[in-house]
């Protein structure tokens, strides 16, 4: 492709995935969806004005227009797929998918039916979320998971450091403390449900602790990054350099 056309709407080139951000300030550490060094490819961020965590968790229809507008802007910049930094953007998944031409994977939760196919019929799937009060049956239904699958939801909303650092937008985040809280919740969940077959981590601030959760439970763990990596690969196929 030796002749390239200028994309008039684009400020720069080569962005792989566009990521919609909550209108939120927190410490996005390496491994967080909101940290650019989490990815081996360039990502482009766009804050959705007015999309406070509480409104997205509730699926407030008033911000749907702003979410769509931000997604269209990312598309105009040349990204090949769109994700977000909050699993509760599942509330806007279908509206955004209808509004743009590129693949849309706004929520870690859309992996739930996919993951469900991988595990035995009698095994449960655990979901660790920022707020189990917000993640009720309505949201689970939006994920498309089949009703026969047992889904166990545990929230971090009552863990002291997660609450102050992540939910209440604190100025400091101690990764050792969040890791301890997340692992404790995961271990308790597995202890109460010994038939658990896999864990899905909903919150975009928790992938830094996925390895610790996996090491502690021995279970498959998917999170926001496994989803973003998946759509990235599906939109950036590669040449193989192996041997025969």
């Amino acid at each position: 492709m030796p002749v390239y056309a200028t994309r008039r709407a684009a400020e720069a080139y080569g962005y792989s995935v566009g990521i919609l951000l909550l209108d939120f300030r927190g410490a996005f550490v390496p491994g967080d969806v909101g940290n650019a060094t989490t990815y081996p490819y360039p990502v482009l961020y766009k804050t959705v004005p007015g999309a406070a965590g509480a409104r997205v968790l509730a699926g407030d229809p008033e911000i749907e227009g702003a979410v769509i507008e931000a997604a269209k802007w990312l598309e105009s910049q040349g990204v090949k797929a769109i994700s977000s930094d909050c699993g509760f953007f599942v509330n806007y998944q279908d509206a955004v998918a209808k509004a743009v031409k590129i693949p849309v994977a706004l929520s870690s939760l859309i992996q739930l039916p996919f993951l469900s196919q991988f595990v035995g019929d009698r095994r449960s799937i655990g979901v660790i979320t920022a707020s189990s009060r917000a993640l009720g049956n309505r949201v689970l239904e939006l994920t498309g998971v089949e009703p026969e699958r047992e889904v166990v939801v545990e929230g971090l909303q009552d863990q002291p450091h997660f609450k102050e650092a992540c939910l209440d937008e604190g100025d400091e985040l101690d990764t050792a403390r969040i890791e301890a809280e997340t692992v404790a919740v995961a271990k308790r969940m597995v202890k109460n449900h010994p038939n658990m077959g896999a864990i899905l981590i909903e919150c975009s601030m928790l992938p830094p602790y996925s390895k610790a959760v996996q090491d502690a439970t021995g279970l498959p763990v998917v999170d926001f990054i496994t989803l973003i990596d998946y759509v990235q690969k599906g939109t950036h196929q590669r040449a193989y350099q192996g041997y025969y």
Binding site: P113, G120, Q214, G242
Partner: protein
């Protein structure tokens, strides 16, 4: 973890994913599911004796026990996830996932619901399969793969090089010719369905051509290796070493 315990059933260690193979002999080039250099992690292969390509494509429920037995042997060898080298192994997905404790993703076709979720439900998904005469809506429905989007299925069975090299196991294969055949079908499909949202390559011998298909159509293109990479990521979470 300074003390390690011998796994008495393991011949070697560090194998990430186990891959069940059809009883077939054909050139598995780089990018093929059956070529170890396709992956950035170690895999082990296990052939299911007697389960030839023709038998599997035609549907062979009598092999469910043999598949489960082979999967258990891979599990005992220490792999953390199980896949296969034929999308038609979808027929054994439930039997195998119920036979082992580790996650099972035998078929590229398991990706259909997730791919569908990333786009509006009115947009067709194109599937390029080894044999469209056997890949029917009924086959998908029996395996529990349900999507609202229209599925456009096209087969490689009448393409001369694919037919003789892959289906008839001629003994040699010209990858330039297979590229032309695959891209030809993809372009024709995209032309007839201008609203197509993505392409899925069913066959485990087609990932080497996914980039050519993507370049020719501009569409998101998913294949067997995308599924296996996802399974690997879910079972081997990583530590992040980025910057803040």
């Amino acid at each position: 973890m300074p003390t390690y315990r011998t796994r008495r059933t393991a011949e070697s260690y560090g194998q990430a994913v186990g891959i069940l193979l059809l009883d077939a002999r054909a050139p598995f080039i780089p990018g093929d599911v059956g070529n170890a250099s396709t992956y950035s992690y170690p895999v082990i292969f296990k052939t299911v004796p007697g389960l030839s390509t023709a038998v599997c494509l035609a549907g062979a429920p009598e092999y469910a026990d043999a598949m489960a037995k082979a999967a258990k042997e891979l599990e005992a060898a220490g792999v953390r996830g199980i896949s296969s080298d034929c999308g038609f192994m979808l027929q054994y997905q439930k039997a195998v996932r119920n036979a082992v404790k580790i996650p099972v993703a035998l078929s590229s076709l398991l990706q259909l619901p997730l791919i569908a979720r990333t786009m509006d439900e009115s947009r067709p998904i194109g599937v390029i399969t080894a044999d469209s005469t056997n890949l029917t809506d009924d086959f998908l429905a029996r395996a529990g793969v349900k999507v609202k989007n229209p599925i456009v299925i096209r087969g490689m069975q009448d393409e001369p090089e694919f037919k003789t090299a892959v289906l008839k196991e001629r003994g040699t294969m010209d990858s330039d010719l297979i590229t032309k055949e695959t891209v030809g079908i993809a372009k024709d499909m995209a032309r007839k369905h201008p609203n197509m949202g993505a392409i899925l390559l069913e066959c485990s011998m087609l990932p080497p051509y996914a980039k050519a298909v993507q370049d020719a159509t501009g569409l998101p293109t998913y294949d067997f290796v995308n599924l296996i990479d996802y399974l690997h990521r879910a079972t081997h979470q990583c530590a992040y070493v980025g910057r803040y």
